[in-house]
């Protein structure tokens, strides 16, 4: 296995349940992709700034003016479980 990606680990972090066959399949495919992108590291990048965004534009701002929110009934009806005013969850124990 290449060191470039660990599909089992990444899928666990992303909460994507993969079968062993799928893990093997994607491991191979993603290794090819990551290794391909890694080729960039073979170039001299000393004077190249990292690209933070695909767009060249900057500063797209909104004014600080309140706009209407959604109707609560409609929002809560969209939830898998609800109370009168809140999204309802199974009782959770606080995680770090």
């Amino acid at each position: 296995m290449s060191q470039s990606i660990d599909v089992a680990y990444v899928s666990e972090l992303a909460r994507i349940a993969l079968t062993d066959d799928e893990t093997k399949l994607f491991q191979g495919q993603l290794e090819t992709i990551v290794d391909y992108v890694e080729k960039i590291n073979g170039l001299d990048l000393d004077n190249i700034k990292p690209t933070m965004h695909g767009q060249v534009s900057t500063n797209f701002f909104r004014d600080d003016v309140v706009s209407p929110s959604l109707d609560r009934e409609a929002v809560l009806d969209n939830a898998p479980a609800r109370t009168d005013s809140e999204f309802k969850l199974p009782k959770i124990v606080e995680d770090a």
């Binding site: 992303a14 965004h53 209407p68 929110s69 929002v75 309802k88 969850l89 009782k91 770090a96």
Partner: protein, 478 residues
Amino acid sequence: MSKYLITIGLETHVHLKTHTKMFCGCATEFGSEANTHVCPVCLGYPGALPVMNGEAIKQCVIAGLMLGCEINHYSTFDRKNYFYPDMCKDYQITQMEKPLCIGGGVTIDTPEGSRRVRIHHIHQEEDAGKIIHYARHSGVDFNRCGTPLMEIVSEPDLSSPDEAMAYLHNLRQILVYAGVSECNLEEGNMRSDVNISVRPEGQEELGIRAEIKNMNTFKGIYAALEYEIERQLYIVKKGGTITQETRRWDADLGETQSMRTKENAHDYRYFPEPDLVPVTLDKEMVEQWRAALPELPAARRERMVKEYGIPEYDAGVLADEKPNADFFEIAAKLCGEFKTLSNWFMTDVMCLLSESGKTITQCSLTPKSLAELVTLVKKGVINGPTAKELLPELFNDGLMPAKMVEERGLAQVSDSGALESFMNEVFEANEKSVADYLAGKKAAAGYLTGQVMKLSRGKADPKLVNKMIAEKFAGMGG
């Protein structure tokens, strides 16, 4: 036994004072009914796109300027990925690579003198929703989700709970002065994570640290730090090792507890937020903001001493809370009696504030009514005790003192004819006291003054009465 050094660093999350959320137009208003300020963006509906609140960026930069930070003229946002029900898009938009503000610091006073606590950086992010725990289930209110949140990360420059308190107190004061946050602790406007470690004196490398998460009262932070230092020292002195972990402060039990941590929970897979373009801050604009910065608390204290001739102590008390200093300065300009006004504020007004649990902006007292009261005493229209009696009504009901004095006939009696007749009445009725005084018991004069005050129903000018009594005794050869 070797000595140990304590190292504390704080990550302080502060709600900005914007009307709307960081990436959508939902209101940030506190105390609204649950889930009434939500929309597709802050609920993370598929396809919804964030649009940055320009005012939040400005406020974060202003905070940075007030704290002496360098401003990053090119700044970007990143995704911090995690699964927790308080954030339904499963990532928080924050800044990792290029935060808005770098460096800076907060000056604190310690017994060894004043010292600068360095700030590592300040980044802008969004708050999460609020989870409410019930007996059989948990509920989520997403009103807070998306509220502009500034995270101020200090360097590990603090070495005691007292220093941490001084840092937080001064940081809060500066942010309130900057006008970028209410820093209201009850409303969760200011919450801190605390990193703490101990190491034997002489060891360069910091000890293994524990992090205590999400505390919103200064008292709680102080108690948690004291407990945690104690706990770590106990382990280290026994030869044990500290585990690097996240702990929770349980205020009821008065202890920190280890929190359950999933393996890999801290691998947040940060990557640049593709839905937001970078922020570039024009140097000229930042310099304009810098030029318009409000006064820092220390500068204000200094100016108040100079401008009003009040003692440093008074300036410190008054300027501790910006609204109090604002109130004082308006009233000072109205009545011109600076030290008297300061005394009134620091004693009687502050006493009413602490009894009522209100702030100066919540009570009904206005700079105009307090200035009027001080002026009435100064001009001799009413005496001090009468003014003290009126103050609670100014404070609670917003009444104006001049009108009260007129309507209730409270004006001081300084008509010497009227006082003379009161005095004669008192001298006749209290022959023994008069005789005592003449026999050398000078304290009897005080009793006689009190009797005259009583006859005048508190309205006599006590100074004038004292003087008249002294003169009368002088005439009697006393």
